[in-house]
């Protein structure tokens, strides 16, 4: 492996999230959106991977909020932070969740398909 080909592909301890695999389930909302954004309560956002693209990243993610990655493709993907903060393996048609425990700007990509990219901005 070369660093220029797979710049951040190490499996790392998930420092900023707590993840749990969900059973294969029907596709959720096509775009990232909060599911529990009542005032003061952590929100759940869904980012769908479809047709070799990440759906739009939610705009107002805060520490304590949860991101659900929903892989609607027939291909294995990952959501991998450039700074190695997280690396979520996403089997075809699978969902995974992670919860942010610190703020920051997190550019991410699919380590299997490096052209797939996005950025999550998490505030306090």
């Amino acid at each position: 492996m070369t660093s220029s080909t797979r710049p951040f592909c190490n499996r790392v301890a998930v420092a900023i999230l707590a993840g749990a695999a969900l059973a294969t389930a029907p596709a959720a909302a096509p775009l990232a959106k909060p599911h529990a954004a009542a005032a003061g309560k952590p929100a759940l956002y869904v980012i769908t991977l479809d047709n070799m693209k990440f759906g739009p990243a939610p705009a107002h993610v805060k520490v304590g909020d949860t991101i659900e990655w929903d892989n609607n493709d027939i291909f294995l993907h990952s959501a991998t932070a450039r700074d190695t903060s997280f690396n979520v393996e996403l089997k075809p048609k699978a969902r995974m969740r992670m919860t942010f425990i610190r703020p920051g700007v997190f550019p991410f990509y699919c380590r299997y398909h490096p052209g797939m990219t996005g950025t999550l901005v998490v505030s306090k």
């Binding site: 070799m52 027939i74 291909f75 398909h113």
Partner: protein
């Protein structure tokens, strides 16, 4: 490199030739797409068996995994549609050229193999993508087949980009 280009040209000419003689029907398009996928799966398996470079192995595994997923989907689709993929001169030309390429690469080892494999992946995906965009997708009549081919084109463009990046690191 010349042989790589010749192989790529074989696909380009054969698909273009088929298009000129008579637009391929859905059964032929399905066969061509499936054959093209199988060729890259075989090339990937050869690379997995021969290469010791982790980046090359990662790429080869990606090719086997992704092309297998597309071909499995294609098989399920033709079964659902009741279509029998139809062999044709383009598929035959592809298979013949691929067999020659596998034989050529089997004689190489180490860095020489890695570079030749990845160079061929660049050329092959570039040519397949051209054939998909210019011949196979425009001529596909069934909406689900057309959609699968479009998904394939999106995927294979990503593969081409990945292969180009990998080729640059092997120089």
């Amino acid at each position: 490199m010349l042989k790589t280009l010749a192989f790529a040209a074989a696909l380009s000419l054969s698909v273009a030739g088929a298009a000129l003689a008579q637009a391929p029907n859905d059964a032929q398009i399905a066969h061509i797409a499936y054959t093209a996928g199988n060729i890259d799966i075989a090339a990937g398996k050869q690379a997995i068996a021969k290469s010791h470079d982790k980046a090359v192995l990662d790429f080869a595994n990606e090719m086997v995994r992704d092309h297998t997923a597309v071909n499995d989907k294609a098989l399920a689709l033709v079964k659902k549609l009741g279509v029998t993929p139809q062999d044709n001169p383009t598929s035959q030309s592809l298979s013949k050229a691929a067999a020659a390429k596998l034989k050529e690469l089997s004689a190489l080892n180490g860095k020489a193999f890695d570079k030749a494999y990845v160079a061929n992946e660049v050329a092959y995906h570039k040519t397949v993508n051209g054939a998909l965009a210019n011949t196979l997708i425009p001529n596909a009549k069934n909406a689900e087949l057309k959609s699968l081919l479009q998904t394939g084109l999106t995927l294979f463009k990503e593969h081409q980009m990945h292969a180009e990046h990998l080729a640059a690191t092997l120089k």
